[in-house]
């Protein structure tokens, strides 16, 4: 039943690069949390478990033909939107945000799942309705509506970072599917106007983050602290870095959130510009390789699927790095494969599984 030819076409290059980045990430976590006196399993060991689970999930995702998803895309979408509504009704509230549904053994975060589901959903949509000559406003209305419903629900939680990422993923797929020039201009104008209008819908803490991003020094011990300390960590790494386990910013705890959102700062401090550049190159290779998979996909659906996953990885990387090096405001976006966290690992590895799936089925049989 399992075609042996699929194994010959398995994308070892992608899996190799993914494993390499994840390994660097685990070594980095070892350094970031080495000084912690914690009972129980050390963070980097837990991350190894998560990565193991992630590999298993990715392989599981490879097993069935991705084309089956085409028939289930809208079903997934419906369930996910239902769950997002559920979150708002009976979600678990921590730190002012309601993001999780407690399933007893597991905290489900439907907004995170939405990142994958929106890819599948839009892939389905553009596979059926898409054409190569550029869409007009009317044609774009259905996909934008598909995007808007979950995004508004996620913003309500509130989780601006995830909502933004879902928008970025959706827009990337839409843009790639082709948009007429005039439509693009109109949309851009509407987008800018919407952003201005959205300013008033933001929560105070979200606005605070943007103020702080624009001028971190206005509150160096409060909301500006993260970004200042992160820039100090990255900058003080210099060209060669301070050496493994020798980053004073991270080892002496000046850097907050250093095992999650600011894991890259630890890496940049200890490995310097050389290390940062290497890691950046690896991520870029994964992105380019993902685009190459999309380019070679056997069908339109596979191409959009691969492209969506690439967009998801790309925007996570860019938003996270932009944040830790002070180019973007602080939004809680993890760096894929690098930041500690099960949810992020699982989402990323589902995406990787989809890429592998599309890649190994690039030839029609």
């Amino acid at each position: 039943m399992f075609d042996r030819r699929l194994l010959t076409h398995f994308d070892w290059v992608l899996l190799g690069m993914i494993c390499l980045v994840a390994s660097i990430g685990i070594v980095n976590l070892y350094s970031a949390t080495g000084s912690w006196e914690t009972g129980g399993t050390p963070v980097y060991i837990k991350q190894i478990y998560w990565f193991g689970l992630g590999i298993a999930i990715a392989l599981a995702v490879c097993v069935f033909d991705y084309r089956h998803l085409e028939y289930m895309g809208f079903f997934f979408y419906g369930v996910n939107v239902f769950l997002l509504v559920g979150v708002l009704l009976f979600g678990k509230t921590t730190m002012g945000a309601t993001r999780w549904i407690d399933l007893g053994f597991f905290n489900l975060q439907p907004s995170e799942v939405m990142k994958i589901v929106i890819i599948i959903t839009l892939a389905c949509h553009f596979n059926r309705k898409g054409h190569a000559f550029g869409h007009n406003l009317k044609e774009l209305l259905p996909p934008f509506s598909l995007l808007a419903v979950p995004v508004l629900l996620i913003m309500k939680q509130p989780d601006l970072g995830t909502a933004m990422l879902v928008v970025f993923i959706g827009m990337t797929i839409a843009l790639f599917s082709g948009i007429q020039k005039l439509t693009f201009i109109v949309l851009s104008v509407l987008g800018v106007a919407g952003a201005c209008g959205g300013w008033f819908l933001l929560h105070d803490y979200q606005r605070e983050r943007i103020y702080t991003f624009l001028n971190p020094e206005r509150d160096p011990l409060g909301s500006g602290y993260h970004i200042i300390q992160s820039k100090i960590a990255v900058g003080s790494g210099g060209f060669w870095g301070k050496g493994f386990m020798k980053g004073t910013q991270s080892q002496l705890s000046f850097l907050p959130e250093r095992h999650t959102d600011f894991a890259f700062s630890v890496f940049a401090e200890e490995w310097g510009f050389v290390g940062s550049m290497g890691l950046l190159a690896l991520y870029l290779l994964i992105i380019i390789w993902g685009l190459y998979i999309a380019r070679r996909a056997a069908d339109k659906f596979g191409m959009f699927l691969a492209l969506g996953v690439v967009a998801m990885l790309f925007w996570h990387i860019v938003v996270n790095l932009g944040m830790v090096i002070g180019l973007l405001p602080v939004v809680g976006v993890p760096l894929p494969l690098f930041s500690y966290g099960g949810t992020s690992m699982v989402t990323t590895m589902i995406g990787v599984g989809l890429l592998l799936n599309v890649s190994m089925r690039r030839f029609k049989f």
């Binding site: 790494g237 000046f254 999309a294 070679r296």
Partner: protein, 621 residues
């Protein structure tokens, strides 16, 4: 649909992939440029910021420079003061610890708790001072039990020590905590709250030389300020050594001779202006200030009516009394208005206008010339000649001899004294000068005020023939490597050579006062050293119908009694030293001030003060 057919064949798709790849690469390049900016262009600045995050500097106090006398005898040193501090992060149970410490330190638990609470505002890496100067025994007890006292540190702080206690305390000065105001002034740049600085005397005047360069411990701390390790220590560098012009043994002898009396004494080298001894009584023990004086002790010192903190040698202003007659005599001789043989018949008083001016000797001195006038301190002789000399000539002579102006001694707070002139009086009171005022000024009363230091300088100028040297107490300042930073040489302030004949005439009178029977200090002369001097009595208040007998001790209250003065130089024929002594409310110069001066001269020349067999009872002013 064939292999790779359909969508992938769409025209322009290849371009879209190219564009999207380039866009992704472009955004990554943007990130890389930012990293370049942070990690290469701004790396140094960020490295400094990260070092600032993790490094803390804790100063180590430097010992202040030691002070020696002219022969290298130690006058001020430092001793180790042991204290107990607490590194809060290592404390397991604060209450247990403080309870245990209260036993070892012999202090109330409540007191320790209060200090602990107060010290909590210090960052965690800074040891919290709990007890200071606890003594070696208690320190050893704490150290022996260190195992059971986690977080306790014994610390050693250099603290001022004074081997001779109160001796020369006014010259040396005392320390105190730096004030808020001083901290703000640029002069005290680099000082911190809690630092000790010189508050008076040389400690104040030589602060920049005496203060050492503090050392520093570099500590690594984490984000909570917890001390992780000691990275580097720079040892403190002690302050410079200061050598004074004082002679320790002479200083001690002078102080011993003073006994419980209040007043001041200064001895100078007549050829250099170097201060060989400077005494101000009563004194205080500067050690009490070394580690912070209590408010009680401080108020006690401030309220003492005899002003133990004041250096009377430079800040006390006294009427010079009859010691001023030296000035009047020189002024008269210089003006050519008298000769040494000018005779005045003293009948015990002199009427000028409608006022009667009395001589201290009721029955009068009879026919008196200059020598006798100085020897027996006849007032009438001076009343008589002063009317011709006039205040201006007297003032001019006084100033030429160093009176009426601060002399620039290297101690803070020197007073000017006062030599009145017509001009001064017009400005001060808006009235003209009266002849009667000249008459009382001629015997050093009225407006005339001098400091003991000025009297010593004046005497030295007479002794050396008219040169006024700047009085100095610092001989040299030497750094630890032995380099001489400051070396004081004699400085001439005024050089008005006195006519030989005039000088001779005055000196003869001064020699007679000590060495001839009937002289006011005859009873205090030294056998082996020929001393020349002049006694003086300075009125504190005018008593009506004052009688010499009424002025005896016991009959009038202490604070209204006259000051006793004595100025002298020795040896009379070839003067080396000059001395001035003021005993507050000591009544008579000859009987009270002269013994102190003689004891100093005897000590300087290494001779004994023999008890005088032919001591006559009190003789005059």
């Amino acid at each position: 649909m064939g292999l790779n057919s359909g969508w992938s064949g769409t025209p322009g798709l290849k371009n879209r992939f190219l564009i999207i790849s380039l866009a992704a690469t472009g955004i990554f390049l943007l990130l890389l440029m930012r990293l370049w900016y942070l990690q290469i262009i701004s790396a140094d600045a960020y490295l400094q910021l990260s070092e600032k995050n993790r490094l803390r500097y804790v100063p180590i106090e430097a010992p202040r420079g030691s002070i020696y006398d002219r022969d290298g005898a130690l006058l001020v040193d430092n001793r180790p003061a042991f204290g107990v501090s607490i590194l809060r992060q290592d404390v397991e149970d604060t209450n247990d610890l403080l309870t245990a410490l209260s036993g070892y330190l012999g202090e109330d638990l409540a007191t320790l708790q209060e200090r602990y609470a107060k010290g909590k505002r210090l960052p965690p890496y800074r040891p919290l001072p709990l007890a200071e100067d606890i003594g070696r025994d208690r320190m050893e007890m704490v150290q022996e039990n260190a195992q059971d006292l986690p977080g306790v540190l014994t610390v050693v702080r250099p603290t001022r020590a004074y081997p001779y206690q109160e001796s020369a305390a006014h010259v040396l000065g005392y320390l105190g905590e730096i004030t808020e105001q001083q901290l703000r002034s640029p002069e005290f740049y680099g000082y911190r709250t809690g630092d000790f600085v010189g508050k008076s005397g040389l400690e104040k005047h030589l602060e920049p030389y005496l203060r050492g360069r503090e050392g520093e411990r570099r500590l690594e701390v984490d984000v909570r300020g917890k001390l992780l390790r000691n990275i580097q220590t720079r040892d403190p560098f002690p302050g410079n050594r200061v050598y004074l012009t004082l002679k320790k043994d002479l200083q001690l002898a002078a102080e011993a001779a003073f006994g419980d009396q209040a007043g001041a004494a200064v001895m100078l080298d007549v050829h250099t202006g170097e201060v060989l001894a400077m005494v101000s009584r009563p004194s205080f023990n500067p050690a009490a200030f070394a580690s912070g004086i209590t408010a009680e002790e401080w108020i006690h010192l401030l309220k003492d009516p005899r002003h133990p903190l004041q250096n009377k040698a430079i800040k006390g202003q006294y009427p010079p009394g009859s010691t001023f007659k030296i000035v009047t005599a020189l002024a008269a001789l210089k003006a050519g208005l008298i000769t040494p043989s000018t005779v005045v018949d003293c009948k015990g008083s002199l009427e000028i206008g409608d006022r009667e001016f009395r001589c201290w000797k009721k029955e009068g001195h009879g026919k008196t010339n200059l020598k006798k006038a100085l020897k027996e301190s006849c007032d009438v002789w001076f009343y008589q000649i002063a009317q011709d000399v006039g205040i201006d000539r007297i003032s001019e002579e006084a100033m030429a001899l160093g009176l009426g102006q601060s002399l620039g001694i290297d101690l803070e707070g020197e007073k000017d004294g006062l030599i009145p002139t017509r001009e001064w009086k017009r400005k001060r009171f808006g009235t003209r000068w009266y002849d009667g005022e000249t008459v009382i000024a001629s015997i050093g009363q009225g407006y005339v005020l001098t400091t003991p230091l000025q009297l010593a300088v004046m005497t030295a100028a007479v002794a050396n023939g008219g040169t006024v040297y700047r009085p100095q107490v610092v001989k040299k300042i030497v750094d630890l490597a032995g380099n001489v930073l400051v070396e004081n040489t004699p400085q001439v302030l005024e050089d008005n050579p006195i006519d030989k004949k005039n000088l001779q005439a005055v000196k003869a009178g001064l020699e007679a006062a000590v060495n001839e029977p009937g002289g006011t200090a005859w009873s205090r002369r030294l056998e082996k050293i020929k001393v020349a001097g002049k006694t003086g009595t300075a009125q504190v208040v005018k008593l009506k119908d004052k009688d010499s007998k009424d002025n005896d001790e016991g009959k009038i209250p202490y604070k209204f009694r006259d000051h006793a003065l004595f100025v002298a130089y020795a040896p009379a024929d070839n003067p080396e030293v000059a001395v001035a002594v003021v005993v507050e409310h000591g009544s008579h110069g000859g009987s009270v001030a002269a013994p102190v001066a003689m004891a100093m001269i005897a000590n300087y020349f290494g001779v004994d003060v023999e008890p005088q067999a032919d001591k006559v009872p009190y003789a005059g002013d």
